[in-house]
């Protein structure tokens, strides 16, 4: 942890030395992209994206100065979770891996490699000022959407009844995981541009809901109901944070309900999941098998657990023991106390993430931090809620802990951004000024 903190802090002076610039709102030239809005709202100024800066090298850089290291508590929490995840993936998967691949370390090795790669991604994204990364919003989103489209139209690699993966050699990419973070980046980018106009239906609400809707439909096409729900939730969370009218959000939610019902009722396996969720032990030998096994795992763990490596449920009884239902194995091996510690770690992550949102120098940073934090938190607690039988099975992994390269890498990228936002900054001229003015103004 300390090492990483040092790394971040050591990065600061170098960057600071090069990048110390102060710019005023008046110095900034409005971007072409914002020209229409600027004409209506002359006082609004936006930070030029890095891409724009690149095309206009002469233009002064207006990023706030980084004055401190990233949140060490946050990075420590995440690294702890990832390391814990490696241990638990090994414990939960060894039997299955041995049976399926002839090597008990199959998932351990892969997850370890992904973890190292993930930490690298995290360090890189934390090091480069997120304002500069802002220019990559659309390329990132479009790439993610393209990948998602590829899986949605049927080039995906089928596994577990759904085509959610794209095979690139030995690597399976899961676009749905990537698109979640891409959506957060895009929403943060877009919402921070809209500022007060977020309250309007056509400018503030509709584009984002439509954008999210397209992505959700692509997700559902795979089908990946869990990711679709997650994207919907994140969109609403971020719209709500940005101050979109509650009426619109609730209205959209109301509109979505029949669609959800149609989707669930129209899909046999989702209906089965619902019935299994409602009475797992009644359908213990059919649809409720997985959830019943999960509940038994938790119960078998008791207060203090059976000890790491001693789970019996992982003896092929609990399906997806190393992915979606890894928390059941954690509950069994480490007991209620271990489970509680893990929940606490996730809560700590949420708290530190929101702290970063509060201390962010501009709205973009705030939205980014809120989006990422709530995404990770929601995904984590949804997964846990599924495992303990509070929610129907969705196919969502537990961030940082479940086995899965795409998810781990993307989550590390997201945390990298979060850590980036958490770094203290001063003289955030453009953003801060814009924000102050925005906050001060009345829409």
């Amino acid at each position: 942890m300390g090492m990483l903190g040092n790394m971040f802090s050591s990065a600061r002076p170098a960057e600071g030395n090069v990048r110390v610039r102060r710019s005023t709102p008046t110095e900034e030239r409005p971007r072409e992209a914002d020209s229409d809005r600027k004409s209506r709202d002359g006082e609004r100024k936006t930070t030029a994206p890095a891409a724009a800066a690149a095309t206009k090298p002469a233009k002064a850089v207006k990023h706030p100065e980084v004055t401190g290291p990233a949140d060490a508590v946050l990075s420590a929490t995440v690294i702890t979770l990832v390391a814990f995840g490696i241990v638990m993936v090994y414990s939960a998967s060894a039997v299955f891996a041995h049976q399926r691949f002839g090597s008990g370390q199959y998932f351990l090795i892969r997850q370890s490699i992904f973890a190292v790669l993930g930490l690298c991604v995290m360090v890189v994204t934390a090091s480069i000022d997120y304002h500069k990364l802002r220019a990559l919003t659309y390329p990132f989103l479009l790439t993610a959407l393209a990948l998602l489209l590829v899986t949605a139209v049927g080039f995906g690699h089928a596994a577990g009844g759904a085509a959610r993966w794209i095979s690139v050699g030995p690597i399976h990419i899961q676009p749905a995981e990537i698109v979640k973070v891409a959506m957060i980046c895009w929403l943060a980018y877009s919402l921070s541009k809209k500022t007060e106009r977020i309250r309007s239906f056509s400018v503030g609400f509709l584009p984002h809901v439509l954008g999210a809707g397209v992505v959700m439909i692509l997700c559902l096409k795979q089908p990946d109901f869990g990711s679709a729900v997650m994207i919907g939730l994140i969109t609403f969370f971020m719209l709500f944070t940005a101050g979109a009218r509650l009426g619109y959000i609730l209205g959209a939610g109301m509109l979505a309900l029949p669609m959800v019902y149609y989707l669930v009722a129209g899909s046999e396996y989702r209906m089965r999941r619902i019935t299994a969720f409602l009475s797992p032990f009644q359908y213990r030998h059919s649809a409720g098998y997985q959830i019943a096994e999960s509940l038994m795992s938790f119960g078998a763990g008791g207060t203090t657990g059976v000890g790491i490596g001693d789970s019996h449920q992982k003896l092929l009884f609990l399906p997806e023991a190393h992915t979606d239902f890894i928390s059941a194995i954690i509950g069994e091996e480490l007991g209620f106390l271990g489970f509680l510690a893990m929940v606490a770690a996730f809560l700590l992550l949420v708290v530190r993430g929101l702290r970063a949102a509060f201390t962010a120098v501009d709205e973009y940073g705030t939205y980014l931090a809120v989006g990422i934090t709530l995404f990770l938190g929601t995904q984590a607690f949804t997964n846990l809620a599924v495992a303990v039988g509070l929610l129907p099975t969705k196919g969502l992994v537990l961030p940082f802990i479940s086995y899965g390269g795409s998810s781990l890498l993307v989550n590390c990228l997201a945390v990298g951004l979060l850590l980036n936002v958490s770094r203290p900054r001063v003289g955030a001229v453009v953003s801060a000024g814009e924000s102050s003015r925005a906050f001060g103004g009345v829409a």
Binding site: V95, E196, F237, F240, T241, A242, G243, L295, M296, S297, F298, G299, A300, G301, G302, T303, H312, Q313, L315, L316, F317, G331, G335, F336, F339, L340, V343, F346, L347, V350, V351, L354, A357, F358, T359, A360, V361, D362, E363, T366, V370, L374, G377, T378, F381, T382, L384, A385, V388, G389, L390, A428, A432, S435, S436, A438, F439, G440, G441
Partner: protein
């Protein structure tokens, strides 16, 4: 948001806090639920989980081996490949069951259609063929057919095929005893079917057990029989030969050691191969020696005579009028095959007079005869540890018809098994003690602990010892010239026995069939110190039917070879007289001597004796005990034998002069591996050398150096 004072910033923070609170509520719900599952309902859920992974796994113990008395394997369990298939896996893999069947069927000798149908069923498991040969198993493995697998199963194997098949019985394909000792000792052979708690994975495979597996606990008991493989083989071979040559329907032979009741051989013909029990019929698999009862006829007469002598109803010297071959009892007439006038009880046995036996039976009375027979074990099971034993039929005397007391006395109207007959006569051979038959010598569990060991068990003292000796002496006359079973005589040994030739009951027409006979002989040797007793029963021999001519030769061949195999030293009639002589003064024993003398004079004319005085001691070095004794008897010398095997030393040495009737000591040693005589042979010419030989030869004896001493004198009936 560095301007917290701004309203927008405040509202945004408030909204973020609201969302965070929502998330916190979610976390709270998850934690509460986890508490509910892991603390409150932990026991219930843990129980459910344990139910699916904790199993008491039944260990499949290795079925115990059955050995003969010398440790030769008679029934063993070996691992064999069993081929099975998973039809659903075949279907899932998109494989054609028919194609797989066409590969497998010719290899395993199965029908393609049947196999294809079986492999197309909606199951996860079907046997293709169980217990295939190692070659077939290898071939199937080499094919690597999808959905076809091989697992190892224990297979019961009888390495000697038909040998002792009826005694051993057989175990089925699942290793469960179906007949014979395999059935009777099922619990012990199978081994403790205890279970151990083990953790299973979802496929039901044992991941680990919480208890160390002790191989010895998964081991059935090892059973050692009293059966002697060599004698059993001998008995079966001779019995089969006799059944075939006499064109009999079936036959049984029981060879026992009368002093202990141990069964050394129990043969039946027809027989079967227990490795392929399904290829034989039920009748072939019957252990006739204990399951089939028959009217014994004359072989029962020793019991009648014993009973009458013991009860004092007849005296040994009493003269019985045999009415010249026909006598009326009630409204029936009893015939003798030969016509006799006046006979002593000994002669009644020797010539097997029905009339004489009937009169002795009548003298004994109904109750006395019934009691005598029951005391000999008739009408009750012998208690041998073999399944399916029948008790025979001996009706209570109150339900006898008028004639029964007469006919039952000579073996009509009563039925017995071969084993009963053998055990009954064994009582006469064994000083009047009826022994419990033993088939199991020892049972040892997996830890090497002896759980059961045969100890001779006397069921009862049937008749006083002196009566037994008396009747035994009478029975010797049967096998001597003039008796009915000269065919049973074995050179070098005194044989006591009794023939039986019984008409079979005709169940269709009533009465007795004219042309169906049960021919039997039961006897033992050496008569003075009985080592072996055999009962031979032949069912419906066609070529001849007299027990003396059909069954007695079987007895002679089996008993002679068995005595030689066991190295039993012979005895002779002279010894008999000598032993009887000092007993004068004792009333019954003097009677015995007189009877024996009478029997002997009646049986055999005395041979011309050699010249009195000195005789030349012949060389008997390298000869078997029997040959040596025979040669020395010819030279009218006494013999003292020590050890087993071939003569390795003699004292006095060959060609020396000895007094007639002097004792010659023989030292016997087992032949060395290359068949040559023991090295000491040549040296053993002086007393000192003989003594030296004795001292150095003794440790090399493989068996406990038991002293076999036979006192023999020249007699009239030597080989």
């Amino acid at each position: 948001m560095n301007a917290p004072a701004s309203r927008r910033g405040l509202f945004m923070r408030a909204r973020i806090v609201m969302l965070a609170t929502l998330l916190g509520c979610g976390a709270g719900a998850v934690v509460y639920r986890a508490w509910d599952l892991q603390v409150r309902r932990a026991d219930t859920l843990r129980g459910m989980a344990e139910e699916q992974y904790l199993r008491d796994v039944a260990l499949a113990p290795k079925r115990g081996t059955i050995y003969d008395r010398d440790g030769a394997e008679l029934a063993v369990s070996v691992d064999a490949d069993s081929v099975w298939g998973n039809p659903l896996a075949i279907k899932k893999a998109g494989q054609d069951a028919r194609a797989i069947a066409s590969h497998l069927a010719p290899l395993l000798g199965l029908d393609v259609e049947v196999l294809a149908q079986r492999l197309s069923s909606e199951r996860h498991f079907v046997w293709v063929k169980r217990r295939v040969t190692p070659a077939q198993g290898k071939a199937v493995r080499a094919l690597h057919l999808p959905g076809i697998a091989i697992s190892e199963e224990a297979r019961r194997f009888y390495p000697n095929r038909e040998l002792a098949a009826h005694v051993l019985g057989f175990a089925n394909v699942d290793g469960v005893g179906i007949e014979g000792l395999e059935l009777a000792l099922e619990d012990k052979l199978r081994g403790p079917r205890h279970t151990i708690p083990a953790v299973l994975d979802r496929r039901g495979e044992i991941v680990f057990s919480q208890q160390l597996l002790d191989e010895r606990n998964a081991q059935g008991d090892e059973v050692t029989l009293t059966i002697d493989k060599t004698l059993q083989y001998l008995a079966e071979r001779e019995l089969e030969l006799a059944v075939r040559t006499s064109e009999a329907r079936a036959g049984s032979l029981v060879l026992i050691e009368p002093s202990s009741g141990e069964i050394l051989a129990m043969a039946n013909y027809p027989t079967f191969n227990p490795n392929e029990p399904n290829r034989s019929s039920n009748t072939d698999r019957r252990n006739r020696a204990i399951t089939d009862r028959f009217e014994p006829g004359s072989t029962i007469k020793p019991f009648t005579v014993s009973g009458a002598l013991a009860a004092g109803a007849v005296s040994p010297t009493q003269i019985i009028d045999c009415e010249n071959g026909a006598v009326r009892v009630a409204e029936y007439t009893i015939h003798d095959s030969h016509h006799f006038q006046l006979l002593t009880p000994a002669q009644v046995l020797a010539v097997s007079s029905n009339i004489g036996a009937a009169k002795i039976g009548l003298a004994l009375g109904r109750a006395g005869l019934y009691r005598a027979f029951t005391r000999f074990g008739l009408g009750e099971r012998t208690g041998v540890e073999l399944p399916g034993e029948t008790a025979g039929i001996l009706r209570h005397y109150k339900r006898w018809y008028d004639m029964d007391a007469a006919t039952i006395a000579f073996g009509q109207g009563v039925s017995v098994t071969a084993l009963q007959l053998a055990m009954g006569l064994g009582a006469i051979a064994n000083k009047g003690r009826l022994m419990q038959p033993q088939i199991i010598k020892r049972i040892v569990d997996g830890h090497g602990e002896v759980v059961q060991a045969a100890t001779p068990h006397v069921r009862r003292q049937v008749i006083p010892e002196n009566v037994a000796r008396l009747v035994s002496d009478m029975l010797v006359a049967v096998t001597e010239p003039g008796g009915t079973a000269v065919e049973a005589a074995i050179p070098g040994y005194l044989v006591a026995g009794k023939t039986g030739t019984a008409q079979k009951a005709d169940y269709v027409h009533g009465g007795y069939a004219d042309n169906k006979w049960m021919s039997s002989f039961v006897g033992y040797a050496p008569a003075q110190a009985p080592r072996l007793l055999a009962a031979v029963v032949l069912d419906e021999p066609m070529i001849a039917h007299q027990g003396g001519s059909v069954a007695a030769p079987v007895f002679r061949r089996v008993m002679g070879a068995a005595l030689r195999h066991l190295g039993v030293p012979g005895d002779n009639a002279g010894a008999l007289a000598e032993q009887a002589a000092p007993r004068k003064g004792d009333a019954s024993k003097s009677v015995a001597a007189a009877v024996v003398a009478q029997a002997l004079t009646a049986a055999a004319p005395s041979e011309p004796s050699l010249a009195a005085g000195e005789v030349l001691v012949p060389s008997v070095l390298g000869q078997s005990a029997r040959q040596a004794i025979s040669a020395l008897h010819q030279a009218e010398l006494d013999v003292r034998v020590q050890g087993t095997g071939l003569v390795s030393a003699q004292e006095p040495a060959a060609a020396s002069v000895a007094q007639r009737g002097a004792q010659v000591s023989l030292r016997l040693s087992p032949p060395s591996a290359d068949g040559s005589l023991p090295a000491s042979t040549a040296k053993a010419t002086t007393p000192a050398a003989a003594a030296a030989t004795t001292s150095e030869a003794a440790p090399t004896l493989p068996q406990p150096a038991r002293e076999l001493i036979a006192v023999a004198r020249p007699g009239g009936h030597d080989g």
